[in-house]
Assembly symmetry: C2
Homo-oligomer: 354 residues x 2
């Protein structure tokens, strides 16, 4: 029989809706390959929280979203502040895919902290809590022996954080460059075609790839958030998000983009990290690159990163992800990783006892 | 105090020499970050085996290689067949970086099997044992509760196998395309410049990136071996290496390469996997691709792969690796992964007992 993992979803937007759909599509594979069943026992959105001891049917949640419903219309709705969810239901794992809110002291961060204190593992698609309190959350998780995963926070399904942390271990970062925001990359490409910025943003939002507030995309702040999480995960950078120099694409004109294209270059919103006088220098800014460079090759909905290190010379990777499904899949891989780790530990303990 | 892992090196070529150098360079980081010390207690090459209960000094092994010495000149040399190494010393982990030998029943495979039977974990840089006996080795390892890692066997330091197995979990592969052999890719590029094939191969061997026998590179067999390992690791492909149609670059002329370049295309030795009538079709052959496609962008010493799947749309990654150091680093990441897993399990067991 499959082992049941009790999960709580924070946010019912594109990412968690996509997650539920994948849980439906891959239910059999999850049971067969990982002997696991994810039972959604709590849901939180801006309207409040709903809990169910025996769990919500995946299909009911999909239907709720299709009917543009909110959590306060669900059976199991509790008239309590969302940040109290960890006190209202027993669970193993929290998935935070709520909209990015960078206001310090926002209730989302309180919700996460309380969940960790209750011993819940956390998977993030939402960058905000990590940007606001990376070290604090990691320390809290260590204290309470829970796991935090966040591979979905950087470049959707592209396993940037995982590759850096797990595959490039022991390597010392020399520099990195990347295109981390597909919406702004798409907008720059549309500019070249003569489409107005506002139109391009609307198109991006229709597809569901743009952040709820496109200002974060266009201003470079979303890119900076990702750069910060990458550097906190992989390097000895110990500064804050405010140490990143950020310039957005607001002032880039169609004329500039066309002019660049004529001489085989491209204007990209590039995130960079490199050492200057032995200090990390982190920047996000519109940059002209050769069209046939790796960064230049990241077109439209693509995001990519080029990493130079002492052990691995140069490694580059990119994805094409017009649909947020890849981000949802990244959340699921983190969920499975945590569960697999827990099960392995328990199995070994049991064997030891025999 | 650091935990000591007793390791045995099979092969003392570029990869294991590179590994020893990294073990020297990163000794402090390995101790601090992973609380581990790797002690080389056995070495095997074509001249025989040498063992040391207290371990060989890293520097002595590097000096031996610099002086073009062989294992039979070492203190600790035993006049025994190399495949008996697992019966001659106690160890935890075997690293097979010996030259690729695809002869069925070759002693290298016997050596590996005996090591697994003794409970040793195995890290492969050498593809041959896995190509000859993938299923058999995995079953044997499972039976003896040991781990097998082989991220260094495919595209050097590029974490192809790891990303597929760990990050794209639950995704169903639609198709993949890749350039997996840097030597043949480099040779094709040199052809365009007017350099003769033989000269280009010599240059590749000088750098140390070519296989000992360049026939494997040029004939497409090395590419096919890598494609096979990828498909065995990630897909439901259950055929044998012989099911891959292989055509090398022997017959490609400088004229063909130049002609292709003139119309913005490139001739690449491309590995492909795709479904045809619900069956996997695996091929390695010279293919003309657009210069600005991802495969076309893999230049000279670069290797790359483009993966299409149901959950992640398209993910592509490539590396630039003129030096085999990246492959050595990949061996080390596998060693650390295995050790980290073992330590975690033991720590949890100890805590449980309290």
């Amino acid at each position: 029989m499959s082992e049941t993992v009790r999960i709580v979803l924070v946010g019912l937007g594109n990412v968690n809706l996509g997650l539920i759909k994948i849980l439906i599509d891959k239910k059999k594979a999850i049971a067969e390959q990982y002997n696991t069943r994810f039972n959604i026992v709590g849901v939180v959105d801006s309207s409040g929280m709903a809990v169910s001891e025996k769990g919500f049917a995946y299909e009911d949640l999909v239907n709720l979203k299709y009917n543009k419903g909110k959590v306060n219309e669900m059976t199991g709705f509790l008239p309590k502040a969302p940040e109290l969810i960890a006190d209202c239901i027993t669970a193993d794992l929290l998935i935070d895919a709520s909209p990015v809110n960078l206001t310090p002291g926002n209730p989302g961060l309180q919700l996460i902290k309380r969940a960790i204190e209750k011993g819940w593992h956390v998977v993030f698609a939402n960058k905000a809590p990590l940007v606001l309190a990376f070290d604090q959350l990691m320390a809290l998780a260590q204290q309470h022996k829970t796991s935090i995963r966040y591979s979905a926070t950087v470049c959707g399904g592209l396993p940037v954080v995982n590759v850096l942390k797990r595959d490039l271990k022991l390597a010392s970062l020399s520099s990195l460059h990347g295109v981390f925001n597909a919406t702004s990359n798409f907008v720059l490409q549309e500019l070249e075609k003569g489409v107005a910025v506002e139109e391009a943003i609307k198109e991006a939002q229709k597809i569901g790839a743009a952040e709820t507030d496109p200002t974060l995309d266009i201003s470079g702040q979303d890119t900076a958030n990702k750069l910060y999480l990458i550097m906190k995960s992989f390097s000895d950078f110990d500064g804050s998000i405010k140490d990143i120099e950020v310039e957005g694409i607001e002032k880039i004109t169609a004329e500039q983009v066309s002019k660049a294209a004529k001489v085989n270059t491209q204007i990209k919103l590039v995130a960079s990290a490199y050492k200057k006088e032995n200090q990390w220098k982190l920047e996000v800014k519109p940059t002209t690159v050769a069209a046939d460079s790796f960064i230049g090759s990241c077109k439209g909905w693509e995001m990519g990163i080029e990493i130079k290190s002492d052990l691995y010379e140069s490694i580059s990777f990119k994805n094409y992800e017009a649909d947020p499904r890849g981000t949802s899949a990244a959340v699921l891989r983190d969920m499975i990783d945590i569960q697999h780790q827990q099960v392995t530990l328990r199995m070994k303990n049991t064997n030891k006892g025999k």
